[in-house]
Symmetry: C2
Subunit: 256 residues, 2 copies
C-alpha cells in the first residue's frame, strides 16, 4: 500500500541509540524487501532526508531535516517558545520536563530539559510517545479532537511495560479521568521506575495539539510531590498554549 508512507516510516527506525543503519538491517526491521528499501532510501537521499556514510555505507538522518526544522521554527517558533517554559518547569519541580506535539498519529518529543538532580529521568531525544502508554499521550488524547480520541481508543495498544494499558477497557478510564482532572498521571506504563505527569497543550481550535510533562523517578512520587508538580505544571501548560497561539477552552481547569 501507500509507498510514500512506508518509505517515511523507515525514518522511525533511527533513534538516539541507533542513529545509523545498514541496508539489510533496515530491510529486516521494516519487513520490506532490500531492493525496495534501497530505492526508498535513494529517494529520500535526493531530498536530504537521509544520507549515507561514504565509507561504512550506513544510512542516517540527513542534513535536509535540519534545514526543514529551521524553516519551521522560523514560521512557527515552537522550540523557542517551549524551551524557556520547560526550563522554568524543570527548576521549579526539580524534575525532568519535556514537551511533545502531535506528529502523525502519535506524539513526537520536540523539547526537553533535564533535572539537575543526580537521580533524574533521562529523556531520550526525539522519542515517539505512544498515546496510550505515556502521561503525555493520555493527557493529549483526553483533550484531542474527538475524532482523534476515538481513533486512539480504538487503535491497537501495544504493551510497552507490564503496566501499559493494552485494551480499551483499561485505557479509556485513564482518558476519562484525565478529562475531568485536566491532567494525566502515568506510573511506569512506558518505562519502568518512571512516573509521568502531563497536561495538554491546546491548539487554536481548542483541541489538544500536544502535551507538556514532568517525569520523575517513581520512588520520589508522593501525594505532596504530585501536588507541587501540578502547581508548576498548570501555569506552564497555560503558557505553552498561549505562547503557541493556542486557545484554552473556557471550562478547562487542572485540579487534583
Amino acid at each position: 500500500m501507500r509507498t510514500v508512507e512506508k518509505a517515511l516510516k523507515l525514518l522511525n527506525f533511527f533513534t538516539e541509540q541507533q542513529p545509523e543503519h545498514g541496508l539489510s538491517n533496515l530491510a529486516r526491521l521494516s519487513g520490506i524487501d532490500k531492493a525496495t528499501v534501497l530505492r526508498m532510501l535513494g529517494d529520500m537521499e535526493a531530498t536530504g532526508l537521509v544520507e549515507q556514510d561514504t565509507r561504512s555505507r550506513k544510512w542516517r538522518l540527513g542534513a535536509g531535516i535540519l534545514r526543514l526544522a529551521r524553516l519551521r521554527e522560523a514560521a512557527f517558533p515552537v522550540t523557542r517558545v517551549l524551551t524557556p517554559i520547560l526550563e522554568r518547569l524543570a527548576t521549579e519541580t526539580g524534575e525532568t520536563a519535556h514537551a511533545s506535539l502531535l506528529s502523525g498519529r502519535e506524539l513526537g518529543s520536540v523539547a526537553a530539559v533535564e533535572s539537575t538532580r543526580s537521580n533524574r529521568v533521562i529523556m531520550e531525544a526525539g522519542h515517539i510517545l505512544p498515546l496510550h502508554a505515556t502521561a503525555s499521550g493520555v493527557a493529549f488524547t483526553a483533550f484531542a479532537n474527538p475524532e482523534i480520541r476515538e481513533r486512539a481508543l480504538a487503535g491497537d495498544l501495544p504493551q510497552v511495560t507490564p503496566a501499559t494499558p493494552t485494551t480499551r477497557e483499561t485505557f479509556e478510564p485513564l482518558v476519562r479521568e484525565a478529562m475531568t482532572k485536566g491532567y494525566a498521571l502515568s506510573d511506569q506504563a512506558f518505562e519502568a521506575e518512571v512516573t509521568g505527569i502531563a497536561a495538554p497543550i491546546f491548539g487554536p481550535d481548542g483541541f489538544a495539539c500536544g502535551a507538556i510533562s514532568v517525569a520523575t523517578p517513581s520512588s520520589r512520587m508522593t501525594a505532596d510531590h504530585v501536588s507541587s508538580i501540578l502547581s508548576a505544571l498548570a501555569p506552564a501548560a497555560r503558557l505553552a498554549t498561549l505562547g503557541l497561539g493556542g486557545h484554552i477552552p473556557s471550562h478547562h481547569k487542572i485540579a487534583a
Copy 2:
C-alpha cells in the same frame, strides 16, 4: 517516476515567506494532479512531516520534523558545533555568517548568524543554495567528491540573477579558481547587491560536505575587506571541519 521523491519535493515549496500552502496551490506549483498531491500530503501527514491547519485547511511543515531534527542533533550535533563558530565569525567580520550542508544535490542552509550592522545581509532561514549560484556552492563543488563535482558541472544551471553562471564554460572556471585558492567569492550571482565568500567544510572522507560563508553588501566589498574576511573565515572553516569530525586534506590551504 519515483513517487517518493516527487512527494518529498513538495516540501521544498514551503519557505520562510510561504510557510503554508493550500492544496490547489501546491498542485499548481508542482505540476502534479490535485488528487495525487492530496494523497502524498496524507502520507506525509501520517509521519508528521506535514500537518494541516484544521480551520484553514492549509498545509505546513509538521512537528515530526522537529522530532527528527532533535534526533539528528543528538547523534551528530551539527548546529551546536557550528553556531558558536558562526557567532565568532560574524563578530570578527561584522558581517552575516552562515553554514550549509549537502542535502540531496544541493546545499541546505542549516545555521546562520546575522551581522549587527544596520546595513547587513539577511539570510532567509532554511534556504536551498544552488551549487552554481552561490559562493558556498562553488566552494563546496570545488572540494566535493569528483563524482558529485562532475554532476554539478554537467547539470543544468538555472539563471538566478544576471550574474549567475548558466553554462559549464562560465561555471567551471569559478570552480577551478576555488580549487586553487581554497575559497570561493561570488558577486551577486544569487542575490543582487550581495557578495559571498565561502570555504568548504570537509567530511571524514576528505571531501567537502558543506560550506561556511560570509555574506556582505556588495557596496562594502573591497580588497581589504576580502582579506580581513578571509583571515577570519579560514580558521572558522578549519574549526567547523574538525568540530564535525571531518578530515582536512593535507594540501588544502586558503590563500588569496
